[in-house]
Every structure is written in C-alpha cells, then in structure tokens.
C-alpha cells in the first residue's frame, strides 16, 4: 500500500506538470481487422475538374483503409481511462484540404487545442464539422484565404464534410488526453511518454467499431497491445 501511495503522489505531482516531460513508458501495437470490411469505391470528382485532374487513377473512398495482413489504418488509439491531462498542448493541429480530399483523414486532438484548417485547392470548400455534442458550425473557405481556426470544448468523434464536394469525408477525434495515435497504413501505433499506471486503451474506427484493453505500465517499459476491430460489410 505504501508503494502505491508513493506512486499516486508522484502521479499527482505529475498531473501538475506538462506530462510529455515525464514518464517514459510506451504502449505500442498493431491494429488489424476481422470480418468483411465495407467495399470502397473510386471517387468521381468530375464535378470539380480542378481536383479531378489531380487524381489519375481516381482516389478511393476512405471508409476503410487497410494494409497488408489485414492491417487497419486511421484507427484512433487513445487512453480512455487512467491518464489525467487537463491541459491541451499549445501547438495547433492542422487539417488540410488538398485535391478535394482531407488530410489527414482522421485528425486527433485534445479538447481546447487549436485546430487550423487550410485550403490548398483552387476551389472553395466549406468546412462543416457535424458535431452533436460540441457546437456544429459551417464556414466557407475560398482558395487563398487564411486558415480557419477553432477549438473544441468536449470530447467527441466529429464527422467533417464539405457540402460542395460530397465525397469529402474526414473525422476530428477530440479527446481528453494527449496520449493518442492514429494507426498508419501498416496498422501500427505507438503511445510514448506514459507515466507508470494502469490505463484503459480504446481503439476507435470511423465505422463505429471499437475495442478496449487494459494495460499497466510500470517504469520505462514498452508494452504491446494489439487490437482487432470487427468490421461489417455495411
């Protein structure tokens, strides 16, 4: 019990400091999928010639982006319990519209962290985050205009779309933690700089499928946590 109290005291002290300076544990792993994912199809951008000409062959929709060995990309893996980081980082995250596509497709950020939206295309877009818990807003962004800046108060997975270009879909994963990662094309992710403690990790995919694991970090170890997301064809 005394050991635990000591760790709680240290953790409590850690809560007052920027947490990325403290703790060196890491949770990493791979995200794979089971089941049959929904079929993706090519995007017809003919209504926007300035974008269509940039993509030959056409882009595919990004509802499910998978890699070799059933790797699943664009999965947000984050600490859902056990961490305590009330302060958002002071750097902004960036969401770009280029070639009539959002980059990144899934953007994770902390509540209260500044979000910059850029339009690098020659056509107007409108940014329309379909928030249900946070405020829903909708702003037009013509080409050559400054970035749109905003921030989110509450944790939520927010679908983002452009009404002018209906194929454009993206996601904001607004989280209460700074310990998150978005899986890459090979399905891998890494959550570094974790103080010791017992954590619940959640993996979220935009199809709505989730998976959760409990991982305990003691000291500077690296723990592996793989996730398997069950996908359905529709």
């Amino acid at each position: 019990m005394q050991v635990r109290q000591r760790w709680i005291a240290i953790l409590g002290a850690a809560a007052l400091c920027p947490s990325f300076l403290f703790g060196a544990g890491t949770i990493s792993g791979k995200v794979t999928f089971t089941g049959t994912p929904a079929k993706q199809h090519p995007i017809d951008m003919s209504k926007e010639p300035s974008c269509a000409k940039q993509h030959n062959p056409p882009l595919m929709t990004e509802g499910v982006v998978s890699g070799p060995n059933n790797a699943l990309a664009n999965v947000v893996v984050y600490i859902s319990a056990g961490g305590d980081e009330p302060n958002p980082p002071s750097v902004a995250v960036t969401f770009t519209q280029k070639g009539c596509q959002y980059g990144p497709h899934v953007l994770a950020m902390h509540t209260g962290q500044e979000l910059d939206v850029l339009n690098e295309d020659q056509t107007s877009h409108n940014i329309h985050p379909l928030a249900k818990v946070n405020r829903e807003w909708n702003k037009s962004q013509p080409p050559g205009t400054p970035p749109i800046k905003d921030k989110w108060d509450q944790p939520e997975f927010i679908e983002v779309k452009c009404n002018i270009h209906p194929w454009m879909h993206g996601w904001f994963a607004v989280l209460k933690t700074n310990h998150y990662a978005v899986s890459g094309a090979d399905g891998s992710f890494s959550l570094p700089n974790l103080p010791p403690g017992k954590y619940t990790i959640t993996a979220w995919h935009e199809s709505g499928a989730k998976a959760t694991q409990d991982v305990t970090i003691a000291g500077n170890e690296t723990k592996t946590a793989d996730f398997s997301i069950a996908l359905k064809p529709y």
Partner: protein
Amino acid sequence: MKNFKTVYLFSAILSFILTAGYTTARAQDVPDVGPHPAGKPVEMESHIGNLTGHSEAAKLPYRRYCAGCHGDLGDGQGENTPWLDPKPRNFTLATFKCRSTPTGTLPLDSDLYNSVGRGFTNSNMPIWNALSNQDRANLVAIIKTFSPRWQKEKAGDPIKVPSEPPVTIESISHGKALFTKLECWKCHGPEGKGDGPSASTLTDSQDNPIRPYNFAAGTNDSRFKCGSTNEDIYKIFMTGVDGTPMPSFADTIQPNDAWDLVHFLRVLQVHRHGKENDVLKAAGGNIPPYVEKQAEAPSSQPEVRAAGGGK
C-alpha cells in the same frame, strides 16, 4: 323495477365512460414536457426587448401548438414527423438556422422569437404571429429548456450589420463578381435557381436531402427561410444557416462587400418588384463586368450568365 332501469342505464353510461376514457388515457400517457436529466425539469427565461418569457408558462401552449411536430421532449420526433419535409427542428441539439450570431453559437432570444413569429416558408412551420407576444416569449423560454447547452453557454455576440449603402449598378456588378468568386453558384446555380452542380447531392446535418434556395422561384413574396428583408439576407450568409450545407461567409467577405452581394442576390429574384430590379432595368438589363483592383487567382468556374433582365 323502474328504479332499476334507471340505475342500470346510468351504470352502463358510467362504465362506458370509465372504460373508454381510462384505457385511452393510459394508452396516451406521455412524459411531462422538457428534459429530465436528474428528474428535475429545467426552468429558463427569455428576454426580448421588454418582454420576459417563462418556460413554465409555456407548457400548455407548447403542447397545444408545437409538440405535434417538435415532440414532447423537443427532439423533433412529434407524431407528425415521419410525414414532414423538412423535418421539424430538434431543439435538443441547439443548432438553429436563423441567427444574428456567428455560426456554431447560440442564437439570441430575439432570433428565436422572430423565427417563431415569421414561420418558415416552404415548410410546415406556421407563422405564429397570431399568438400573443407573451405566449411567444414563453415558447422561446421553453425551447431553451430542451438542450443543456443553454445553461452552460451564453448566446453568441450578434454580428454587426453596417448600414446599407445605396443600390447602384456597380454594387450589383460587384455582387455578381463575389457570387462567382465565392462559388455560390456551385450549389445555387449560375442564375440562382438552385440547380448548381453540387445541388443534387446536398444533405443536411441529419443526412436528409435538402435543396439550396431558389432565388428565381416565387412571387413578390420571395421569402427566405430566415426572413425577407435585405438585412435578413445579409445575416443569412454572414452567419450561415446552421444545420444545413449553407456555410457562413463571415471570414471571407468584408462587411461592405457583403451588401453588394445582397444587392446582386435580389436581382436573381426575377419575379420580385424591388429597388434592385429597378436599378438593373434602368441600366438596360445587363450587369457590367466588375473592374477588379488586382488580378485574382484563376479558379474553375463556368460562365455566369447575366441574370434577370428584369423579367
């Protein structure tokens, strides 16, 4: 024996009433109006000018006038919702079309008050101006009880609307240039008929299909969802129509330029007898090209045909 007849007759009537009334009563049980987060209904006030509205006083009027479409819980799931298009407003989301405040912020009480009194054209939302002002203010207050956002957030700061400059052909011409540059035509179409390239794929925030406003349709009435005056148009595109594909252009248009766009949009309403249409007619029915001060980045856009001609 005559006494028994009386007794039987009225016992029959009584049991009839009891059975019929009681069974339909229980079958129609609905929860009290308003959200029940911890079992306690919320009470809110509204302030419009000198009027103060109270949500408690709106319970009966809400049931009478509103709940059939907006639902007893204000969630837009009234008994008639399946047959309505557009769907009734879901007050629990606290997203409103018609505001004086920036996109994503809560409207002023007066915005809701005006929306209730104006109704929404091309929808099933009636024009409730026959109600007393106090009833309307009370209904605004009860709308604010349906979403917890109203208790945590204040309404947005209303946008500043500068005074309208005179209607000139140059103003209309600049408006047309803005319409082209800002790519309004992508949804609204080059003549504002709601037939732009993206029009057919538009969906609102609940994924229901939605059409962009058709400026060319309509008679002298020419109402918009959010009003009918030039100032109303100004506010529409400077605050966006939240919950729909129509974004806010507040970050991209200078306030004075915005009035030029208003004047051009009026000219797209070809059936309306307005000052802007008169000015266009006096100028020969053609909008001269706008002389820009600097070269613009090239953008993909079709030829925007001269609108109206005063017809």
